[in-house]
């Protein structure tokens, strides 16, 4: 096995699947010759030809909208939005059509489209390059939303997404793109969409996170262990439809629940998960669930970005409070 970065794992997933399925096409701004601004599609045009991997015109509505026609005619479009902050011009096509064709036509026309987009902050980027808007995508009926946190998961989840018969928003944590390497098997393997992963078992509290934030969450779990707090850490992996069962089962065991996500707070993913926990495990709760999230601010330009991000220390402190709280 080779150790790959998350980006390389994405590239590997692409190539693995494109070798198996001649109808997969991928396009987006700069994905052809250059291999994408992050190089996720490096070498693909060369191996699979310009019909299957090409630069699109600079128009996101066009990218998503033409993918619809391609999907209806039997292709499998895997499209890239250069940054999640630039997916908005495509919002109408995604919400009004991609998410709806199966239901609108009662299954006659389906939309097996994967929409990849780098998301998230912490890389000192220009405006619009750092947002985390998974809650919006998750709120659109008809879409699935997947976020890997590691190279291994990225490959397995992207292959699952490509094989999935329904449209998937595949959000890639760009802060992780090149920051870690992990053993990634050659060839195809899948990771089920809609299933969370228990990263560490524990009984003091249940902590859910996902994407780039898993890094600090995982580090916090180690710190907390030293403090005698045993955390059941869950990587959500799929934002919608999320894996309620794994979360609820864990909370029933630990009695304490915490969500940590980079995205801002109000109407965010944390609210949904806490509400679900309250609905289904109220009587098990030994303390009010806690969400540790970004603030309701616009993601700041680089000199202010530290005010948005959530550190390992903050997670440790808040988790400790939660674990030792008694009514």
């Amino acid at each position: 096995m080779r150790a790959l970065t998350l980006l390389e794992a994405v590239n590997d997933a692409y190539k693995t699947e494109m070798r198996l399925d001649p109808f997969i096409v991928t396009f987006g701004e700069d994905v052809g010759v250059e291999g994408g601004v992050f190089r996720a599609t490096t070498g693909i045009q060369k191996e699979f030809g310009v019909e299957r991997c090409f630069d699109s015109i600079l128009a996101e509505s066009g990218i998503a909208g033409t993918a619809i026609g391609m999907a209806a005619a039997g292709l499998k479009p895997v499209i890239e939005m250069q940054f999640s902050g630039f997916a908005w011009p495509a919002f109408n096509q995604i919400v009004s059509h991609i998410a709806r064709f199966r239901n609108r036509t009662r299954g006659a026309i389906t939309m097996p489209i994967v929409i990849r987009m780098p998301y998230g902050g912490g890389i000192r980027a220009l405006e619009h390059h750092s947002e985390s808007y998974e809650a919006i995508w998750g709120h659109i009926p008809g879409l699935k939303v997947v976020i890997p946190s590691t190279p291994y998961d990225a490959k397995g989840l992207l292959i699952s997404a490509i094989r999935d018969p329904d449209p998937i928003i595949f959000m890639e944590p760009k802060r992780v793109y090149r920051s870690i390497k992990q053993e990634v098997p050659e060839g195809a393997y899948t990771i089920p969409i809609g299933k969370a992963k228990v990263i560490s078992e524990g009984d003091s509290l249940t902590m859910v996170s996902y994407g780039a934030q898993m890094k600090e969450a995982t580090a916090a779990v180690g710190e907390l262990k030293k403090l005698g707090v045993s955390v059941e850490l869950i990587d959500l992996r799929t934002i919608y439809p999320y894996d309620k069962e794994t979360i609820i089962n864990s909370v029933k065991k630990t009695g304490r629940f915490m969500v940590v996500h980079e995205a801002h707070q109000t109407f965010g993913v944390g609210a949904e998960l806490i509400t679900k926990v309250v609905e289904e495990a109220f009587l098990y709760l030994e303390a009010a669930p806690v969400r540790l999230t970004g603030p309701d601010t616009i993601f700041p330009l680089p000199r202010g970005e530290r005010y948005f991000m959530i550190s390992t220390d903050e997670i440790v402190k808040n988790a400790k409070n939660l674990a030792f709280y008694s009514i």
Binding site: V25, G62, G65, G69, A72, Q93, G142, G194, P241
Partner: protein, 356 residues
């Protein structure tokens, strides 16, 4: 051929005039009499079905829907110039093409009646997209379809429809440019019926024609009399030849007039004069085709009356089948969001059924 009809020079393709007289034009494919008759029958059926739907709406038996009266020649003439397996991508006013393609009238009625099951049109049979409500969005689907067929080397084309108002949306721009760059076999038809709800064509853009917008993408573009099925047919036939020869997309502006309201919820007297409507009535595509066929004795007034009755009976039957069919079950409103219903939605469904 398109160069001879440069819309910027005020040229427009017109073959059959208001009096039903045909002036063939060299090199422009011409419908023969049996085709004209066939087309007429579909137009008449469309007209009758459309009017019946309006009266149903007035009776409170049909929700809001967009009548197609006056525009029948366009989707029809276009589809007659294409193959059954070329993709037909509609806005929401293309009933004549729908019927020509052999899609049951009940599916049209049923969709507007409000049941998604009627929009279940197997693509391998019909190659037709359901109505697209978000204006101009469907043109991008058209470009994508054309790309895919080119990719698969099937020779199939894709034809997409949009209104005059729809040319203002960003998606119009992007769709034409994508298709042009891909040299994809797409045909774009603007049904210029002079209004976008209440907004007149003149307020939508200041260019004398909508056709000329195609040149901004390097797309051959032509304006045709959209109330003349022969003009539409001829233009689409030539566009199809271009497309099948790998020469890329064509833009056709078909000039017409919406004789009815925008939808049954619309009150056109607020924004247009009775005189204007009167001016357009004699240009009605159905009437001029009728004139031609009568003059050629391919049709008689009696026959027309009989057909109208037949079509009305047919329309009534089709609607009845819709009206008496089962409403969707609650499960149906959940089950088609994903191939498999996610656990989260399953529980909502269960809760919902218990909630009552």
């Amino acid at each position: 051929m398109f160069e001879k009809f440069d819309p910027r020079e005020g040229k427009k393709l017109e073959i059959m005039n208001e009096n039903g007289e045909i002036t063939p034009i060299n090199e422009i494919p011409l419908m023969n009499d049996s085709q004209i008759l066939e087309g007429y029958l579909v137009m008449l059926k469309t007209r009758v079905a459309d009017e019946w739907a309006i009266s149903l709406q007035r009776q409170g038996r049909m929700p809001t829907f967009p009548p197609t009266k006056g525009q029948e020649a366009i989707p029809l003439g276009a589809l007659m110039a294409l193959n059954q397996d070329d993709w037909f991508v509609i806005a929401y006013r293309e009933l004549s093409g729908w019927l020509y393609r052999g899609i049951p009238l009940r599916n049209w009625y049923g969709y507007y009646y409000g049941n998604e099951k009627y929009a279940h049109l197997p693509t391998n049979k019909y190659h037709t997209f359901p109505p697209s409500v978000p204006i101009a969005s469907q043109l991008l689907h058209t470009s994508g379809l054309a790309y895919a067929e080119k990719f698969k080397k099937t020779g199939r084309l894709a034809i997409g429809f949009v209104g005059d108002g729809g040319t203002s949306e960003g998606d119009f721009h992007e769709a034409l440019n994508f298709a042009a760059v891909w040299k994809a076999g797409a045909i774009f038809i603007i049904q210029n019926n002079h209004y976008a709800i209440s907004c007149p064509r003149e307020k939508q853009t200041i260019t004398p024609t909508l056709a000329e917008k195609g040149f901004a993408y390097g797309i051959p573009s032509i304006q045709v009399d959209g109330n003349d099925i022969l003009s539409v047919y001829g233009a689409v036939k030539m566009a199809a030849e271009r497309g099948r020869n790998g020469l890329g997309p064509t833009l056709i502006e078909a000039v017409t007039y919406r004789l009815g309201p925008h939808t049954t919820a619309d009150d056109p007297t607020l924004y247009r004069s009775e005189e204007e409507v009167e001016l357009w009535k004699p240009k009605d595509p159905l009437i001029r085709t009728e004139k031609y066929l009568l003059s050629k004795e391919l049709l008689t007034s009696e026959k027309i009356e009989a057909l109208k009755e037949e079509f009305l009976a047919f329309a009534k039957e089709e609607f009845q089948s819709v009206e008496t069919s089962e409403d969707p079950t609650i499960e149906e409103t959940y089950n088609y969001h994903y191939k498999e219903l996610p656990e989260i939605m399953k529980e909502q469904l269960k809760e919902r059924k218990e909630r009552k």
